[in-house]
Amino acid sequence: MQDNIKKVVIVGGGTAGWMAAATLSRFLDLQKCDVTLIESEQIGTVGVGEATLPHLRFFNARLGIDERDFMRRTQSTYKMGIEFVNWGKSGDAYIHPFGDYAHKINGKSFHHYWLRNRKEDQSFPLSDYSLPVKAAKANKFQFPSQDASSVLSTFSYSYHVDAGLYAGYLREYAEAKSVKRIEGKVASVQQDKETGFIQSVKMESGQIVEGELFLDCSGFRGLLIEQTLKTGYQDWSKWLICNSAQAIGCKSSGELEPYSRATAQEAGWQWRIPLQHRTGNGYVYSSDFISDDQATETLLSHLDAEPIGTPNQLRFLTGKRNKVWNKNCIAVGLSSGFLEPLESTSIYLIQDALTHLIEHFPTLAFESAKIDEFNRVMDIEYERIRDFLILHYHATSRQDSPFWDYVRTMNIPDSLQSKMALFKEQGHIVKYDDGLFLEPSWLAVYVGQGVIPTGFHPGALDMDKVRLNKVLAELRSEVQEAARGMTSHQKTLEEYLKEDSKLQNQSNAAASLYGVR
């Protein structure tokens, strides 16, 4: 036996806290290592992240969670992408799907052929080559196929989930595996005088909770990582300028959509997330450009059904903690940084931190190289997502408000600048080995927001026009027919969740946004 950690304390419940507790209870032997979660019912949770990425399926699968049970208990629906409305310019709309467009031709990315065709012949929208987009717009959903030769394997899916219910669901899971829960507020934190390591937290009740490893899931304020350890924060608000949000639920209406929607507004954007029992809505905005009252007015006037309750006001600063792991404390969730939920990355980042924690789980020696490596990979992940989010704001031709004037003309990070230049020139998409958003995602957003390359790769000239038109026509009809044959979202959901359902889900969960083909 090594010098193993025997006591982990999680400060804060909510989605991050209970995802952490569930993960630790799955991977640690709680006979040998004690896991305690502290939360206070008086402190509200943010729970904005109701739209998720396909990685959550992987997370649930690793915990051994039954999909049907999870969906019934959390009022979940299916999601194949996000629709962005009015981003490139007013009146525009596109879907960023969880799937690739067509497939490589002669070893070259499909979109070069699409660009060539667009230039010299007829123009069919890129979305005609994406099954998840076509299916989503027709409100259809069925489980993807595992057969890599089938067009039905060209997408993946995730859920719209009630984050509050999900946290409760995971609490049950974790408590059943003997994670302890302590109710109450933390009054003070004790550190080792020499090393600065956190030794214990003292509750308002006077109870002292000691620990060897602390997970800070206390949200924006970062009770341990910031208030105690003064880790510092990188402010990214010059690029991602929204600093406020208001969230509100409304009654369900219309047909159940298998995608989320992000509609650009005068000073930010509004989300719409259809759940089984209600629709989640929220306005993410910059208070430098509109007042909170104006934001409320915009939010309420864009609901498509009767609101439930009153808007919940949130404030934040986009950026990232200087170190997500500092000494014996790891920030998980909003305490580690904040990136607005435009691409549903909040829950993903929680999951990502937990995956890396499990991979680099420390012993009592708190090996510095493990900590450095954890921080290195988290930094890369954060920065790549940051650049992808900035693209949504910057790639616009909107000139209708000071907010859009600012983001359209602002200086962007060099890393993004060069990526955009390469795409504009001839559709080149910069690749990286590991990363969340890969070629199909960048393509979807570039093209969806009107960044159309001047040229295309010279390799796409390797067939004559007639042949190219024929190949493209076949790809379009393959997608169209497959979409036509799919079941409606509502029907799949009802069929799958009813008591004695015979419907089976054969698709494997993977740590990827996209399908198998």
Binding site: F27, E359, F361, A369, A421, L422, D433, T454, P458, D462
Partner: protein, 494 residues
């Protein structure tokens, strides 16, 4: 249609020409400059990634083997002639480093953690758990199978090729796909600020192209374009002695890398001979010593075709400058021991194809090419420095200097992470997969201090049974396989 001129006559020149012609349909001319490509090594080991390159070049493997007398490679055999160390009670390591991953992961935790936790090192070495290593040790070969149930599906292999024969093969393929070629004794350039306006051959003929690729040893074109001197990749070696010995009756599926007192002896057994390269530092050993050592190491075998070659590869500040790309030795050799020009060229060509600019101004794409290539070269250089840093020999000035040779922070971090956690820190643009680093570091004797603490939380009885089963299956499989030579004879028979 884009026009490309390639100056050079080595494998790099021809495979670049062939690929650009075949995959992009360009008008490609190779200018075979007399004496401009004389430095290349005689043999090269191509890693498994070469297969996909060959597929896109439409090279048939069997045909390639037939016409170039190539043979298969499963692994690299590292040998250390270090004397017995009374402190560690070890007489130097000796390990086989296979292309294929070692062992299997259980419950999402890497095999290396089980190896440590279960104390398997007491009775086994890490490479006992690799079908590739065991096949290599026993001189066996078969192709991997696609049936995922079989242990042979995990096998990965490369090719050992004679450089001149491979060059001829690429040349023939290039000519068949429509590449034209010209001979010239010398050439001059017409420049237009930072670009090549045209190329003038000694017979007076002038040619213009959209892109010029320079594969000459000295980077002739590149230097005429930008006469600035460039930096050198860091390596503790300054020179190499190349020599040939006759082959053994069996053809090894290994390449051998042996640490010797004065440096490293790399031996690549081919079907008809063994090619050797002895890497040394001329400020520590003189040429006579090195020759003498080569003779001793070759035993009774006669040494032939010996020649010295300086490892003074200059790295241009930018690989792609204006409309000219430096490729091959003149663009630097980040790992002269384990790497090779053909591997570098295959990856570079893939990158050039991906980034080929449609417009006349190449600046943007050149910048991206340079960024990515630089990253890749740093990764390869890290591996080479790792080899020199981690190999130990007592009473050797060369190895003392090598062990003290500075290593970059990125490598320090990788080693520290491995030591502390048994995991590999993965960097962008590393051609070597995580499994490759893992078995290399374990093989060379970097023993992680800890296994994954989560392993203490798991019931490892199942894993213990499975590891035993792996050993049995490997032993059983080995017995049924043909030898490398038998297999080659079988597939090559008419």
């Amino acid at each position: 249609m884009k026009k490309v001129i390639i100056a050079g006559s080595n494998a790099t020149a021809w495979l670049t020409a062939h690929s650009l012609r075949r995959q992009l349909g360009f008008d490609v001319t190779v200018v075979e400059l007399k004496g401009a490509c004389a430095n290349g090594r005689r043999v090269e080991s191509l890693p498994p990634t070469a297969h996909s390159f060959h597929r896109s070049a439409q090279f048939n493997e069997l045909d390639l083997i037939k016409r170039t007398n190539a043979c298969f490679q499963l692994s690299t055999h590292y040998l250390n002639a270090a004397p017995f160390d009374p402190e560690t009670k070890k007489s130097g390591y000796d390990f086989v480093h296979s292309f294929a991953p070692i062992g299997v992961d259980f419950d999402g935790l890497g095999f290396q953690h089980y190896f440590k936790k279960l104390g398997l090192e007491a009775n086994n070495s890490f490479d006992d758990f690799s079908i590739g290593c065991q096949m290599a040790k026993n001189n066996k070969f078969v192709h991997p199978v696609s049936n995922g149930q079989s242990i042979l599906s995990t096998l990965e292999y490369g090719l050992k090729v004679d450089t001149l024969a491979y060059t001829e093969y690429c040349k023939k393929a290039a000519k068949q796909s429509g590449v034209t070629s010209l001979m010239a004794d010398s050439l001059t350039l017409n420049l237009d600020s930072w670009k090549i306006a045209s190329i003038v051959l000694d017979n007076g003929l002038t040619f213009t192209a959209d892109l010029y690729v320079d594969t000459t040893d000295d980077g002739l074109l590149h230097r005429m374009l930008l006469p600035k001197k460039s930096t050198q990749f860091s390596t503790p070696c300054s020179s190499v002695l190349r020599f040939t010995t006759p082959s053994n009756s069996e053809i090894s599926t290994n390449t051998r890398i042996q640490a010797i007192n004065s440096g490293i002896l790399k031996s690549v057994p081919l079907a008809d001979r063994i090619e050797h390269e002895l890497f040394f530092n001329d400020s520590i050993s003189n040429e006579d010593n090195v020759i003498a050592q080569a003779q001793i190491l070759s035993g009774s075998s006669a040494i032939s075709d010996s020649e010295f070659h300086a490892l003074d590869y200059q790295v241009p500040e930018t690989f792609w400058l204006g409309n000219c790309i430096a490729l091959g030795e003149n663009a630097g050799m980040p790992d002269p021991v384990c790497g090779g020009e053909i591997q570098l060229a295959q990856r570079a060509v893939t990158r050039i194809i991906e980034l080929f600019p449609a417009a006349d101004d190449h600046a943007l794409f050149a910048q991206e090419y340079n960024r990515v290539t630089k990253l890749e070269y740093s990764r390869l250089n890290e591996f080479q420095l790792g080899l020199f840093n981690l190999t130990h020999q007592q009473d050797s000035d060369f190895w003392q200097a090598s062990n003290e040779f500075p290593i970059p922070e990125s490598l320090q971090h990788k080693l520290a992470v491995f030591l502390q956690s048994g995991n590999i820190a993965k960097y962008e643009q590393d051609p070597k997969p995580v499994s490759f680093w893992l078995s290399f570091l374990l093989g060379i004797g970097v023993s992680p201090k800890h296994y994954d603490p989560l392993l203490d939380m798991l019931d490892t009885a199942q894993a213990e049974l499975k590891t035993k089963r792996i050993l049995e299956i490997i032993q059983k499989t080995i017995g049924q396989l043909p030898s490398h030579r038998e297999y080659l004879n079988h597939i090559l028979q008419p």
